[in-house]
Symmetry: C2
Subunit: 348 residues, 2 copies
């Protein structure tokens, strides 16, 4: 018996007086192994509680059975729901998930992607950081053969599978509801101007305005370069809006983080919602219905988005398709019209 501090194929082979290849085959249930030999090996492996080393297997096979995820931060409830969707699909297929955060920073995002590729993930799921504008590094990785599926904040430039929420419709409906409730001057606060989600939600917002015969006023459109993570962004945006001659009577906030931060700031300023200013935002927080006043929200299907994106990635990985027809899946959003946008709603 070889020393038992580390159980390897070699040790089992030695103890059983067989070759490592036989052990390897038996443990993977290879059919060209004698049934009784196989049983003996399995029994002994079980006794030793043997677990094949994933690292060695990965090095040898060139596949890790792990998918990497890059998103801004798990602290955002929407993304934590996405993660649960990803895991559900991955585990189903026997894949592991490695979650990393970009904190909306281009440099961190790049570093995380580098880590993931060097750790041989079989594919990557990602929502771009707010600060990312140049995605050539991703294109290079994808062209080198690593499947990437984008979700939420995507890049229009790279041809690949994508899963997004119906941002346009969500924004259009939210803005329309504010206008229908009688608000005349609806402002817009979002993340960085170039982000796909901002662009789409902005389009929905503008459509609602024009459809109501309103001409958009650039002064009432604010972007937060760091999606509101840099606190002054939010404060400045609100300050500027409230200093306008034609002060907004409602704000549509276009991202989860911006929505809760704006809500918090308005409350801190002791400005009455919705009497002085109405709010309608994008958020997946379960506490939105419990705030005062209850926060009107566009809710994205986080779990479904993660699940769908993971499924598409796994399909790419397993079928090793090179010339696939890439598709973009658009998932429906849900609107919850509550007190913050002037609606009277019963909780629950």
């Amino acid at each position: 018996m070889l020393p038992s501090n580390k159980i390897t194929l070699k040790k089992i082979a030695h103890d059983l007086n067989m070759s490592t290849s036989t052990i390897s085959r038996a443990l993977r249930d290879n059919h060209e192994i004698n049934a009784v030999t196989k049983e003996r090996i399995l029994a002994y492996a079980r006794e030793l509680n043997f677990r094949p080393d994933t690292i060695a297997r990965t090095l040898r096979n060139g596949k890790s059975k792990t998918i990497g995820v890059v998103l801004s931060t798990v602290e955002n409830p929407f993304y934590s729901q996405v993660i649960n969707g990803i895991e559900s699909a991955a585990y189903q297929s026997g894949y592991n998930v490695c979650i990393t955060q970009s904190h909306e920073s281009y440099d961190l995002e790049k570093m995380q992607v580098a880590h993931l590729t060097r750790n041989s993930v079989d594919g990557i799921l990602m929502s771009l950081a707010a600060g990312t504008t140049d995605t050539t590094y991703l294109k290079r990785i994808k062209d080198a053969g690593l499947p990437i599926v984008f979700f939420d904040n995507i890049d229009q430039g790279i041809d690949s599978h994508k899963v997004v929420a119906d941002n346009f419709k969500g924004a259009f409906e939210a803005t329309s509801q504010l206008l229908n409730s009688g608000y005349k001057n609806v402002a817009f606060i979002s993340g960085p101007a170039n982000n796909s989600i901002t662009v789409e939600r902005m389009a929905g917002y503008l459509k609602a305005l024009t459809q109501n015969g309103i001409i958009a006023n650039e002064a009432t459109i604010k972007y937060c370069m760091h999606d509101g993570e840099n606190d002054c962004e939010i404060e400045n945006a609100i300050d500027e809006l409230f200093l306008l001659d034609n002060r907004p009577d409602a704000i549509f906030t276009a991202t989860d983080n911006v929505s809760t931060k704006v809500f918090q700031s308005i409350r801190r300023r002791e400005i009455q919602i919705p009497d002085e200013v109405a709010l309608f935002g994008f958020t997946n927080s379960k506490l939105a219905e419990l705030t005062f006043p209850a926060l009107s929200a566009v809710h994205q299907p986080g779990f479904e988005m993660g699940k769908k994106a993971a499924e598409m990635l796994l399909d790419l990985i397993k079928n090793n398709r090179s010339n696939t027809e890439y598709q973009t899946v658009v998932l429906p959003v849900q609107l919850f019209s509550r007190a913050s946008s002037g609606s009277i709603t019963i909780l629950g």
Copy 2:
């Protein structure tokens, strides 16, 4: 020039007419390499954008420079803050972080730990799942030499570094504040009875009661086996409390998930807070101050806990200490007394 689809030491060595060991040494800035050779190698590696394969390096070195994390779910704001603390410490030391979720299930937890060890993490940070009672499998892993640091929901049975919040004090203070505000019959709802956090918070709760000359009533103490994730748990607990002859006029909720779920349920039932029942809970949600009424909360230092736990783990990993004196670090909590416990507070 060897084919360039995969850049390895071997390819660089071939192209430059040197041996792989020279390349390896040069890239790791080994001092016994000629300065000009080193520069040539570095230049060429840079040109090819060479990145050493982590998997191969891990297999060879026996260390992955990655730490694994197991916690219930990232959807819990407290844990997402812990993660950020862990990452901050890990990145500082050049370590990677792999986050996994147990969803409060013993089986899932065990599976995640198995995955992590098979993927050769250098150490594990974990908060036990609510459903975990038997930790012998962890003891075995630890005894085999893998450092493990426990945080939040810990196991008293295993001797190792631990980082926790001052659960006793948080619960004691919260309950005391409810009693000082005039509530006479304070109920208790928490996660599973056996969990360390429940035990400690319960002790703080009981201490506050006895110190106020109150004899604890078992009927007003409720446990949720799945930390409130199984929705009926919360509903049943509340139903039972409200059916008591001596109906509680206040509830101390002892975990983040239970706190928000109980709050939500009470609101849905249209029971007035704090007039009909006051609430004081443990939660790290940033929205707690924005709810109606504002939710009184014991706030745990999530970021600090993650940071400290990671630092202790990294110390264990780097110094490879076998017979360390293990210590348990207790971090202070913060109390935010708000309207839900009868306090009048100004936001912000």
